[in-house]
């Protein structure tokens, strides 16, 4: 009988060990994953107990803050509709968008845990989220918003040195402070004010795609900047236009021929290197745009690619093209977040921003910079004037007005893409001019 009792004793210990192993599986092995599963109702409840962190511009000015009114947390957006788009909204009823959605975990403080915040949480049962220091600049954003006027469209301003997004404007916009009252109206409003055109708008790039075509041709040695551009069917006219002047003149024929010479595969390769056809790796969701596959291109469609037909790109993507050319062929990594800031603590590095990627030889990029300067001088491209901006404007029936460029010319700081729906080159260039006029003073 005693031996049987001892066997039961051994069984008892084995059972306890088995249970412990099983509990450890769910709590320790699978725990972190399941705890952050969006279907875990604790996440929603956590929000009510967390003082959500603030979204700040690059100088620490608040873009979204939580204030307490009558004991209830309320999210306030001091800049209203100007920052409606990049910052987004956060509503228990309507969900989250923009940076509020993309940085939800950090703002709630579930992303990074420091020993101090953990201790505070243990002692008070309450958590404070992290403040997010963005690369946005409240002033530049406000000017970009004004520059666009009442037109539907978007502006993206990138800091050429870092790849940080200084401004990201989309019009028409919405006021996140009054979201719930105006929701039904916003849903029905013409011009889709809830769509972030800067990141998610996919537009035909028109002649701004010539930048990519010319970069591909120059880097493969197909043409030189001083070679003649066959803009006209009359051979004697060729001598009049060189490639360095061809960007902003009516010259579709020449670029159609250039695409044929470069070839579909090479063109796609260079366009992808510029970041077209893939979503830019910014924190909120951004569109990939569209880049045709070489196998889908017959001869006619390949030629038309020279005029940008068949391609779609977002303002962010074209601003990235401008920034890459401005950096002399290095593509910077676009981003919105500069640092995470615990309350009363040291900024946390949010991983290093990856270094820029060289995609073009310096001479090629310098060549296109020179060509852009020619374009800016020409009547169709004029944007900068005394502000020494290099850029290219485009527009026409059935396509939006564009300005893509950078400034100042000698040591570029800002890369800009402006798109004006139902507008022309002049409207986009005018907006860019207004923006550079002011922004270059604060950023320089």
């Amino acid at each position: 009988m005693k031996s049987r009792l001892r066997k039961l004793g051994a069984l008892n210990l084995a059972a306890a060990a088995l249970l412990a192993a099983w509990a450890a599986y769910w709590q320790v092995v699978r725990g972190p994953d399941l705890a952050h599963d969006p279907r875990n109702p604790r996440l929603l409840l956590a929000e009510e107990r967390v003082a959500r962190g603030a979204v700040l511009d690059r100088r620490g000015r608040p873009l979204a803050v939580t204030v307490w009114r009558d004991g209830r947390a309320q999210r306030v957006y001091p800049h209203g509709e100007v920052f409606g788009h990049p910052v987004g909204y956060r509503s228990l009823r309507l969900g989250k968008t923009g940076l509020e959605a993309a940085l939800d975990a950090e703002l709630l403080g579930v992303g990074e845990v420091t020993p101090w915040r953990e201790l505070e949480r243990r002692l008070t049962g309450r958590r404070r989220g992290l403040d997010v220091l963005t690369t946005l600049d409240a002033q530049v954003q406000a000017w970009a918003w004004k520059a666009l006027g009442a037109s539907a469209g978007a502006v993206v301003v990138l800091d050429v040195r870092t790849g940080g997004v200084l401004a990201s404007v989309s019009r028409p916009g919405f006021d996140p402070n009054r979201l719930e009252e105006t929701w039904a109206q916003l849903q029905r409003a013409p011009g889709s004010p809830l769509l972030d055109r800067a990141l998610l708008g996919a537009y035909p790039p028109g002649t701004t795609f010539r930048l990519v075509v010319l970069a591909a041709a120059l880097s493969r040695g197909v043409v030189t900047l001083d070679g003649p551009a066959p803009c006209s069917s009359r051979p004697e006219a060729h001598k009049e236009v060189r490639w360095r002047q061809a960007l902003s003149v009516p010259c579709d024929r020449a670029f159609e021929g250039l695409v044929e010479q470069v070839g579909a595969a090479t063109l796609r390769e260079v366009a992808e290197a510029f970041g077209l056809g893939t979503p830019p790796p910014v924190e909120p969701a951004a569109t990939a745009g569209q880049l045709p596959q070489p196998k889908d291109l017959d001869a006619a469609r390949l030629r038309r690619l020279g005029t940008g037909e068949g391609v779609l790109a977002s303002p962010l993507q074209l601003a990235l093209v401008a920034a890459t050319l401005a950096r002399g062929g290095e593509r910077p990594r676009p981003h919105f977040v500069a640092a995470l800031r615990p309350v009363g603590g040291q900024d946390l590095e949010r991983g290093q921003v990856p270094p820029p990627t060289r995609i073009l030889a310096v001479q090629v990029a310098r060549g296109i910079q020179a060509a852009l300067q020619e374009a800016t001088r020409s009547p169709a491209g004029a944007a900068g004037g005394e502000f020494s901006v290099a850029g290219l404007a485009d527009g026409g029936p059935g396509r939006p007005g564009w300005f893509v460029g950078f400034g100042p010319r000698s040591s570029p700081r800002l890369a800009v893409a402006v798109v004006v729906e139902h507008g022309d080159a002049e409207a986009a260039a005018r907006a860019a001019r207004m923006l550079f006029l002011r922004a270059l003073r604060v950023v320089r």
Binding site: L5, R6, G9, A20, A23, Q27, R39
Partner: protein, 396 residues
Amino acid sequence: MRRQLGLYGLVLAFGMGAVGLVHAARGPREAPWALTYPLVALLSVPAVELALLRSGFRPDRLLLPLTAALLSVGLATLYRLSPDLAARQATAVCAGLVAMVASAHWVARARAGEGAGPLWGAAFLVLVALPPFLPGGGELAPPLVDLGVVAFQPLGLAVVFLVVFCAFQLARERRAFVGAMVAAGVLLLLVQRDVGGAATVLVTTLGVAYVATGQAKPLAVVAAVFGAVVLVAHPLLPHLTPRVQGWLDPWSDPAGGGYQTLQATFALASGGLFGAGPGAGHPDLVPAAHTDLTLVAVGEEWGFAGILAVLTLYAVWTARVLKAAISASETFPRLVAAGVAVAVGAQAFVVAAGNVRLLPLVGLPLPFLSYGVSWIVGHLALLGLALGVSHRAGGR
């Protein structure tokens, strides 16, 4: 005596600390007098042991302190969920301590040959058959009896009579009689759709029978037959299929059959290694956390560390009862202690396994932890039996 008091000092410092932390975490809404119930119940345990020692009783040194530790985890967890439940549980603990002293004194003197042996079996059967004839019941399995003043599951008390009955009759080798009575009890429970309760009764009996006879194979056949019967009869047990389905694949019906399992899993996962901290979790999101999923509530706020502590307490508790059985000199007390170890140990295992998703949930409470008036009284009475046996064996 002094060592024993030191042990209690440790256990009660922990237990009252836990209840106090939970009280503090519940915030200023909670009236401080709500604390008196669990604190009085916890202090009663060393008081009762002191009284037992004074009267010349020499039970196992560790069993009561271990039980006090388990009770304090349970009371702290219940207090977290609802101070009202904790107050009722505390009252049940005090009643259970009385039952414990009574059963300890009784078993210390009982002889296998004398007394009304079959009456224990009859009492067991009556308790098991009772619920359909009394108000209450309803959808719960095990069935609940609601007498207005108190609502309880008679099975919690029936287990005590079952253990005594089995030990009595098997010590006198009346195997067929035991088999018949237990089979009747199991059938009665199955008719009431209480598969978990039927399994508990069966496993307890098989455990005692194994110790008494040493015949593992025929007993395994009995267990297999039971499993086959449940499998065949499962269309008649409509609550069983979603429960098993919810265990195997909770995502197939996350809002229905899988809901409880998923909420339990999220609670365990959110607890992690050291838990959310007392009062900082959301065990109230888990359905039936106070009865069926108490270990999950422990795991959310005290983490894997808390679950490990509870499992260790159960393992040592069961080992001490088995030790009392081994050191008993006569067959009857030995079988009584074996029955106590199997009844409590097996229930703790099966319910804890349901909590950590090793097995489907059976709907039974965790011994000494979960809310349940009859179970607390019954399990403390079983503890009394073990204490009496250890005293008979020369105790400490």
